[in-house]
């Protein structure tokens, strides 16, 4: 009997040639993520296709697994307890974030109180997402989450857990999104050491480890010291835990080799929070600051200003810690009540209603974008 392949050989070769060309086109052509929202950006067609094929199946797997698990627990008549437990856990996660913020506030005083307000303001605006897939290779530490452009997710949004930073959103699809985990070799996070206030860049390695780079060999760094986001990369809100210093050694050049233990368990991520409103630019426009005022704040001996004229000036959150390690001068400005913006809470988002805190408004620090490898868009 003539086989299927030999019988339809010519049409199949034709189909294959056409398919290859279509693939070639798909590789080159970029398509809007959501045709109704052109501002949402575009993504390569083949990524859209493959993601469209793979992620629904993964969603079904996850949903099926959850359904079976849920059914089993319902069968045992603890469905209500489980639901309550889930709600409490979400509440607990939110409280842990707030607790971390408050602890930092108490430790660092008024200067970081402004920073805390900033962080609370932005971290509270998050979308909860479930991890549904990965790149499946160590060569690209990518996760897929079940939230996409339709949920307000955009590229370069920070992704965190209550324990610490996870990474940032890379490509966004209508219902899913890619997350570049911070231990990928091509990722970079602007960071600072909690005690010494030294700045550096946290980078991943090919083996999935985290290193803190650009810290000079003559600086004093202690194992166990916490490493936080500096906010300088304008992706991650300032003050979020990245990890702790695990090992320090002298590097080949002028910088220390600092290995970090990540705060979040990057290998066992289940649910994550996407920070949807890290709008530093908005803070800029809300609190315009003159260069002379910043200078007056940092160098009070050079530029003296009467209290009335500085009343509207917003002192910087850390005396611009990206630039200086010195302690900032206390500001004479009166505290200002900053109300969190009204927002719509997306589905599954932990209810976060940060109370207004009387703080001096913050001055955004200058950009300190982490260096990046040659990467595709």
């Amino acid at each position: 009997m003539e086989s299927f392949f030999s019988r339809y050989r010519n049409p199949m070769i034709l189909g294959m040639v056409l398919l290859l060309q279509v693939f070639g086109l798909a590789v080159q052509v970029k398509r809007p993520i959501d045709p109704r929202k052109p501002e949402a950006g575009s993504v390569r067609m083949i990524r859209l296709w493959i993601s469209g094929v793979i992620t629904p199946v993964e969603r079904v797997f996850v949903a099926t697994g959850n359904w079976f698990g849920q059914s089993w627990h319902d069968y045992l008549n603890i469905g209500g307890l489980r639901r309550e437990n889930r709600e409490l856990r979400e509440q607990n996660e939110q409280l842990r974030i707030q607790q971390a913020q408050m602890a930092e506030d108490a430790a660092q005083g008024r200067r970081l109180q402004a920073l805390l307000d900033f962080k609370q303001h932005f971290v509270s605006q998050t979308v909860a997402a479930q991890v549904i897939g990965s790149s499946g290779t160590e060569l690209s530490r990518i996760l897929y989450i079940d939230r996409g452009a339709r949920d307000g997710i955009r590229s370069d949004m920070a992704v965190i857990t209550p324990d610490g930073v996870v990474g940032k959103v890379k490509d966004v699809f209508p219902f899913t999104a890619q997350v570049l985990v911070m231990n990928d070799a091509s990722s970079g996070v602007g960071a600072l050491l909690e005690k010494s206030r030294l700045h550096g860049v946290v980078k991943g390695t090919t083996t999935g480890d985290l290193t803190l780079e650009h810290v000079m060999v003559d600086e004093k760094v202690e194992p166990g010291e916490r490493v936080l986001t500096s906010g300088g990369d304008r992706i991650y809100p300032k003050g979020l835990p990245i990890g702790t210093v695990a090992q320090i050694s002298s590097g080949n050049d002028l910088f220390l080799n600092i290995h970090l233990k990540p705060a979040a368990d990057l290998n066992r991520l289940d649910e994550v929070l996407v920070v949807t409103q890290p709008q530093l630019a908005q803070a800029d426009s809300e609190n315009p600051v003159k260069a002379a005022d910043i200078l007056a704040q940092r160098l009070p001996g050079i530029t003296q200003k009467p209290a009335e004229s500085t009343a509207g000036v917003k002192p910087g959150p850390a005396g611009n810690s990206a630039v200086s390690n010195t302690k900032p001068t206390p500001s004479p400005a009166k505290p200002k009540v900053v109300k969190p913006p009204v927002k719509t809470v997306p589905q599954n988002e932990p209810a976060a209603t940060p109370s207004p805190i009387a703080t001096p408004a913050s001055t955004p620090e200058p950009s300190a974008t982490a260096p990046e490898e040659n990467k595709p868009q």
């Binding site: 086989s3 299927f4 392949f5 294959m16 290859l20 693939f23 590789v27 390569r44 083949i46 990524r47 296709w49 493959i50 993601s51 094929v53 793979i54 199946v57 993964e58 797997f61 991890v131 549904i132 897939g133 990965s134 790149s135 499946g136 290779t137 160590e138 060569l139 690209s140 990518i142 996760l143 897929y144 890379k170 490509d171 890619q178 570049l180 990928d184 070799a185 091509s186 390695t205 090919t206 083996t207 368990d265 290998n267 066992r268 991520l269 289940d270 490898e373 040659n374 990467k375 595709p376």
Partner: protein
């Protein structure tokens, strides 16, 4: 004395084919499992990203079909699908797996690739070739100077070699004599 080393005879070489469903389903399942398993069960299988199921499928189809063109195309398509799930350029895995598909098909016409020992060795060898091609393309074409951890790669190659013995035995059920 010159003696030709003959690993197998022409008569022993058998060419297999796969039905259409298996041709589509097996690579798709490999890519899907490779993406899903590292995050399954709350990340308890995160170590699975050491394995490369799509590579094993590429090798398996290559050696079974013994047709370099088919092996190349299979490797190319599986590699592109794998690339699409990463954040890197499309073609890094595609090029590496095209080489592997071609190489596996060519090698299968010369040596016996049916017993577990040779399957283990072939997989270890092709894993390293795959890794070397990937790094070369990544550094030479994409200009990403990502350090390669070769010791880790060797360990991963051995792990994939062991997994290949099991996976190939399962996939043998889908083979049909051509």
């Amino acid at each position: 004395m010159n003696a030709a080393v003959i690993y197998t005879s022409r008569e022993e070489i058998e060419v297999y084919r796969f039905n259409f469903a298996a041709t589509l389903f097996i690579p798709a399942a490999a890519v899907l499992l490779q993406s899903y398993l590292p995050v399954a069960f709350h990340g308890r299988l995160h170590f699975f990203d050491v394995f490369d199921l799509p590579l094993l499928v590429t090798i398996f189809f290559g050696v079974a079909r013994r047709n370099p063109i088919a092996g190349s195309i299979t490797g190319c398509l599986i590699g592109l699908a794998q690339d699409a799930l990463t954040h890197n350029y499309l073609g890094l895995f595609g090029i590496a797996k095209t080489f592997v598909g071609y190489g596996a098909s060519s090698l299968a016409t010369r040596i016996d690739v049916e017993n577990p020992g040779s399957r283990f060795l072939i997989t270890v060898g092709f894993y390293m070739i795959h890794r070397i091609v990937y790094v070369l393309v990544q550094r030479g074409m994409v200009l990403q100077d990502v350090p390669a951890n070769w010791l880790h790669s060797i360990g991963a190659a051995l792990a994939n070699g062991l997994l290949a013995i099991v996976v190939f035995a399962v996939l043998d059920r889908f083979k049909q004599r051509a």
